[in-house]
């Protein structure tokens, strides 16, 4: 009875249950995500053999009802979502103290459910619905703190996100008008018969990329991201950065690879990725005031890197992209979580306020450093493995433009190094200022040590250990990433597996 549909149904059920539990609501997300984690781990061996197609609603064969596709890619991402979601939710138990806490936890769980749905569904409209679940809950959660910045960013995010979703919907409508079906495999099948010259397809593709690009934070569409990431509660920043924007990237990849198989278009995607990378990293370097904003810009950069890798359009490129995706999800959520309590303790988001924290919060500082190093791509952390696989994919592609892009990636890595080492030196090598200086809240450090509570510490330490473990023993994840990459490349296989059920 290990149906992948439970990955969505159970969290949904739990989140409907949560408001009834009042104070107990905060334990609901960890439980649900733990369930998902276990289930997706159990599913891994099955999907490696053959993707599981789940029919819903009466079990009519595709394209006559919505179906889920538990492909290696989907399960990989579901696994990632549940893992990060689980850890972040544990962190949140202690971290989220003020405000409508039970609503927070419910929304949080729903956000993750939306993300899981996105990566598992095989129906384009269903994808849209889950997308909205994710987006709307993140609009609300970004505003959770209720301060002016949170609200401002939430409004801006909402406006941009709504435009994006409308575009997606227009794209869906165009495709539906053309093919009369919403099943992705069926559409893909139709498109492969259809001549690619049809302007409808191109326009639909443009709408899709723009729409998903807003959530996926590709360059000119990502203006919501720094605002939202910097003013949301840190747990939500972690999830947005670690999970939410990944789903946008996933959707872009799905649409371009599976739906349209727009091979000729991929170099363009790579270009967008590179531009995003550069803009993100450079903005991060320029941002010295607000550490979360800096991390957010860095996320933009990383997303750029992932999209670039997808744009390489070879097996190796996709492999690198997925690997980087995993790494970034772990590392960036780690960074946001670690910075969460640090900000809370020093009472300021300014970079200079972090001076000397290495002494007061040694473990948090240590894991922060590990995350930062992983993102820069230093061995022996996961980021190194992913970065070299992207670079080698770029060079292997044997394309001058891509080679130039690889050089730019290296350049961006230097910038990454600059700003991350800036933080690390603040943590460890600068003398801390007068402790009373930045203190605006209770619970500020009056004593020498003020490490975060244990329930917050455990998840980030687990994340750090995972990063190191993957860095040292990449086989932990490469197996499923390989299958996922193969699966994403294999459009014909996808169509056959789903439409061949008849």
């Amino acid at each position: 009875m290990l149906s992948p549909v439970l990955l969505i149904a159970i969290p949904l059920g739990f989140s409907f249950l949560a408001p009834l539990l009042k104070k107990g609501a905060k334990y609901i997300p960890p439980i649900a995500m733990l369930f998902n984690l276990i289930l997706s781990i159990l599913l891994v061996p099955q999907v490696m053999r053959k993707p599981i197609i789940v029919l819903l609603g009466g079990g009519w064969p595709p394209p006559f009802c919505i179906n889920l596709v538990a492909s290696p890619l989907g399960i990989l991402l579901a696994l990632l979502i549940s893992l990060v979601g689980f850890l972040v939710s544990i962190y949140a138990i202690a971290y989220i103290k003020e405000g409508a806490t039970e609503k927070y936890h419910t929304l949080y769980l729903l956000l993750l459910t939306g993300a899981t749905g996105i990566v598992l569904t095989g129906d384009i409209f269903n994808l849209f619905v889950f997308f909205e679940i994710l987006c709307i809950s993140s609009y609300a959660l970004v505003a959770y703190n209720g301060d002016k910045h949170g609200l401002e960013s939430a409004v801006k995010y909402l406006i941009q996100g709504s435009i994006g979703s409308s575009f997606i919907l227009i794209g869906i409508a165009l495709l539906y008008g053309l093919f009369g079906t919403l099943n992705m495999a069926d559409i893909a099948n139709n498109i492969s018969y259809h001549s690619l010259q049809s302007p409808t397809l191109y326009v639909a593709l443009a709408f899709f990329i723009t729409g998903f690009g807003v959530e996926g934070a590709i360059f000119p569409l990502n203006a919501w991201l720094p605002d939202a990431h910097s003013s949301a509660p840190s747990t939500i920043s972690a999830i947005l950065s670690g999970i939410a924007i990944k789903t946008g990237v996933y959707a872009i990849a799905r649409v371009t690879y599976t739906l349209f198989s727009a091979k000729g278009f991929m170099i363009f995607i790579a270009t967008i990725g590179i531009i995003t990378l550069l803009i993100g990293e450079m903005s991060a370097l320029g941002q010295k005031k607000d550490i979360k904003r800096m991390l957010a810009y860095s996320s933009i950069g990383q997303i750029g890197l992932i999209i670039f890798a997808f744009g390489i359009a070879t097996y190796y490129g996709i492999f690198g992209a997925l690997f980087q995706l995993v790494n970034h999800a772990l590392a960036k959520s780690l960074l946001f979580l670690a910075s969460g309590y640090m900000i809370y303790r020093v009472g300021s988001k300014e970079l200079s306020a972090f001076e000397g924290l290495g002494k007061k919060m040694p473990l948090s500082s240590l894991v922060f450093t590990i995350g930062a190093f992983s993102l820069i791509g230093l061995p022996p952390f996961a980021g190194f493995m992913s970065k070299i696989s992207i670079i080698s994919a770029g060079i292997k592609a044997n394309n001058t433009a891509l080679f130039v892009f690889v050089i730019i990636v290296l350049f961006a890595t230097i910038i990454e190094g600059c700003y991350f080492f800036r933080v690390v030196q603040n943590l460890y090598f600068k003398k801390s200022r007068d402790p009373a200086h930045n203190c605006v809240r209770d619970g500020c450090p009056t004593t020498q040590k003020s490490e975060m509570p244990i329930s917050a510490l455990i998840p980030i330490i687990i994340l750090a250990l995972l990063i190191v473990a993957i860095g040292i023993y990449p086989r932990l994840v490469t197996g499923i990433i390989e299958s996922a990459a193969i699966g994403l490349m294999d459009k014909v296989g996808y169509i056959h597996q789903i439409l061949g059920i008849f």
């Binding site: 409004v155 941009q160 000119p220 903005s283 941002q287 696989s389 290296l410 230097i414 090598f429």
Partner: protein, 616 residues
């Protein structure tokens, strides 16, 4: 098995030491020493044993991670392990009252481990991985002291990232072309590569090695980093870490490409080697005279590290037996005496409470005689006075330059040596000779645990100066490994056939002349020390605090050369950094904060996508 054991002990030892530190400081110190000692012993065990073994396959690129040992790696490995042990020993006392010692020992051991890793890697990927670990762990220790060290560390890590990325580009490019990263396999493939590609590989990879070895004009990180690091680590940094550059150059030029190809790489007069020679020469001269005008003891040594690198480069680019041997031997020698000198500087720092400005010191010879002797021997080695190890290697390099008919390079090398003499003397004089400042009247000799490594190194300087054959034998093995003509050596030097050098003869000559001089001095009248305590200026007593001791040494010379020594490179990088910052700040303005514009971006993107698809 032994190689992986070495690595496990090195890395695991670092972690265990760290954890032990949480229990007790004593235990940690003992462990640290034991780990370094074990490494020295293990590495000594594999002397002359060529091992190559595949340990691990990276699943996704199907890359094999290979460990190997050969004379080249053994040579560097033993240096690393040896200096590592000594610096740990030295640290026991030096670091006693410092804070965050667990961290310190951990990083130091970790750096040593990663350096060991780089030299025993048998494939480029593991080489690169260890290289990167080495880079960032070094950063962590450079910045350890805080204050100025922070900027130094940042400068270091950024330049080192640039270097590593260049190397990464090379490695991945090689991999994507040949599908392997095994050094030996790549070496065989590269024999058939096109000139352009070879040049690309060579130049790009050299970038990283030039940076790490601090050759002009990419040296700017080094003086700051060496000066600001804690002294035991400065010695590791200066003695071992920067020489990874020489190792890398050697690896790429001779192990991977080989002489045949190198010789082909020239356009008209300019060849790859000649460019490197130029760099080496400029580095030597520039660094020597910059060192001359420094007032900071560790900074002098740092610049000397830069300068001596030039000699090594000059040595190894000429693939003659003597040049190569000289270069390699100089690596070893420099490592020994510079470590010694940093220990000396550290000892003084330790006793004087952190004084590094040599103008504030003087006359310490009476208070710290052992340190003085160590310094004297070290400086002699640095200058290349016979009977010290520096003499032999420099002699070989000069010989190569002269015999190879490179007058300009030889001239540069000599000029560099003159500069070395000057700043070497300045170092000795300003610290140990002259007047002892009042406040250091009761200063004590360096503690025993700090003396021990100094004494060991002092002895080694002399030992290798008198018996150069010991290390030269290893170096010859390296030559043979890459099919270069080895230099024939004897225990005391070089046999006749190869251009005789017999240090025993030199030793006797010198001993005899010393004896004669001593006899002469015995005959002369004894000099009477004059009290200088009472000084009067314009008839009034000058309090002791106002005394001027030895300041502004070489003042005229300094004034003359300083204008030429403006660190153009450093300024250039500074400007680049500032420019980048500015550009970044401008780019950030894309996010104007007004949601109308953001919506505009979205529509713009859509319109753009539609537009290009319509028309392309």
């Amino acid at each position: 098995m032994i190689l992986i054991t070495i690595l496990l002990i090195a890395f695991g030892g670092a972690f265990v030491t760290y954890l032990a530190g949480k229990i007790s400081g004593k235990l940690r110190n003992i462990l640290a020493v034991l780990v370094s000692l074990a490494l020295v012993v293990l590495i000594s065990l594999i002397y002359r044993r060529e091992i190559s073994r595949e340990y691990y396959t990276l699943p996704f690129l199907n890359l094999k991670l290979i460990l190997m040992s050969n004379p080249l790696s053994w040579f560097f490995a033993i240096i690393i392990a040896g200096i590592g042990l000594l610096s740990i020993l030295y640290s026991l006392e030096y670091m006693k009252d410092k804070e965050r010692l667990d961290y310190y020992y951990f990083t130091l051991l970790f750096i040593n481990a990663s350096m060991l890793g780089t030299v025993i890697s048998g494939d480029l990927l593991s080489f690169f991985i260890f290289w990167e670990i080495m880079s960032w762990s070094t950063y962590l220790l450079i910045s350890y002291k805080g204050g100025k060290a922070i900027a130094a560390g940042l400068k270091y890590i950024i330049m080192s990232i640039i270097g590593s990325l260049a190397m990464l580009l090379v490695i991945i490019s090689l991999y994507s072309r040949y599908g392997t990263m095994e050094i030996s396999a790549i070496a065989s493939y590269m024999q058939t590569a096109s000139i352009g590609y070879t040049l690309f590989i060579l130049i790009t990879s050299s970038l990283s090695f030039v940076i790490i070895n601090a050759f002009w004009p990419l040296h700017t990180w080094l003086p700051d980093a060496h000066a600001e690091a804690v002294s035991p680590f400065s010695s590791v940094l200066s003695a071992v870490l920067v020489r990874k550059g020489i190792y890398g150059l050697y690896l790429f030029m001779y192990v991977i490409l080989g002489l045949n190809i190198l010789n082909k790489l020239h356009v008209g007069f300019i060849s790859f080697s000649s460019v490197l020679c130029g760099i080496g020469a400029v580095t030597i001269v520039f660094a020597a005279f910059t060192a001359l005008v420094q007032e900071d003891s560790k900074r002098i040594l740092a610049w000397s590290t830069v300068g001596q690198g030039g000699y090594m480069l000059l040595g190894i680019v000429f693939a003659t037996a003597s040049g190569m041997t000289g270069g390699m031997f100089h690596v070893l020698n420099h490592c020994i005496y510079i470590a010694l000198l940093f220990f000396v500087a550290g000892a003084i720092e330790h006793r004087t409470g952190g004084i590094r400005n040599i103008n504030e010191l003087g006359g310490l010879i009476k208070r710290m005689p052992v340190t003085f002797i160590a310094a004297l021997v070290g400086i002699s080695g640095l200058i290349g006075i016979p009977l010290t190890n520096g003499f032999v290697s420099k002699w070989l390099i000069y010989k190569t330059l002269i015999l190879g008919n490179h007058p300009f390079l030889a001239f540069a090398a000599f000029v560099g040596t003159w500069g070395t003499v000057l700043y070497g003397y300045k170092f000795i004089h300003n610290i140990f000779l002259g007047q002892l400042p009042e406040k250091y009247k009761h200063i004590k000799e360096a503690p025993l645990l700090m003396q021990l490594p100094m004494i060991l190194l002092t002895v080694t300087v002399i030992l290798f100066g008198v018996l150069p054959g010991i290390p030269l034998r290893v170096i010859s093995a390296i030559q043979r490994q890459v099919a270069l003509p080895p230099l024939q050596t004897t225990l005391f030097g070089i046999p006749k056939e190869a251009g005789e050098l017999n240090m025993i003869n030199v030793l006797f000559a010198i001993l005899i002349s010393c004896f004669i001089v001593w006899l002469l001095f015995r005959r002369a009248a004894k000099s009477v020390p004059v009290q200088q305590d009472d000084s009067y200026a314009a008839g009034s007593y000058v309090p002791k605090e106002k005394y001027h001791y030895t300041v502004n040494f070489y003042n005229p010379l300094s004034k003359m050369i300083t204008p030429y020594l403006r660190d153009v490179a450093s300024l250039f990088y500074l400007n680049i950094a500032r420019g980048t910052q500015r550009v970044c700040n401008i780019i950030r303005r894309v996010y104007v904060g007004e949601v109308g514009y953001y919506a505009m971006y979205i529509v713009l993107f859509l319109a753009f996508l539609i537009f290009i698809q319509m028309f392309f």
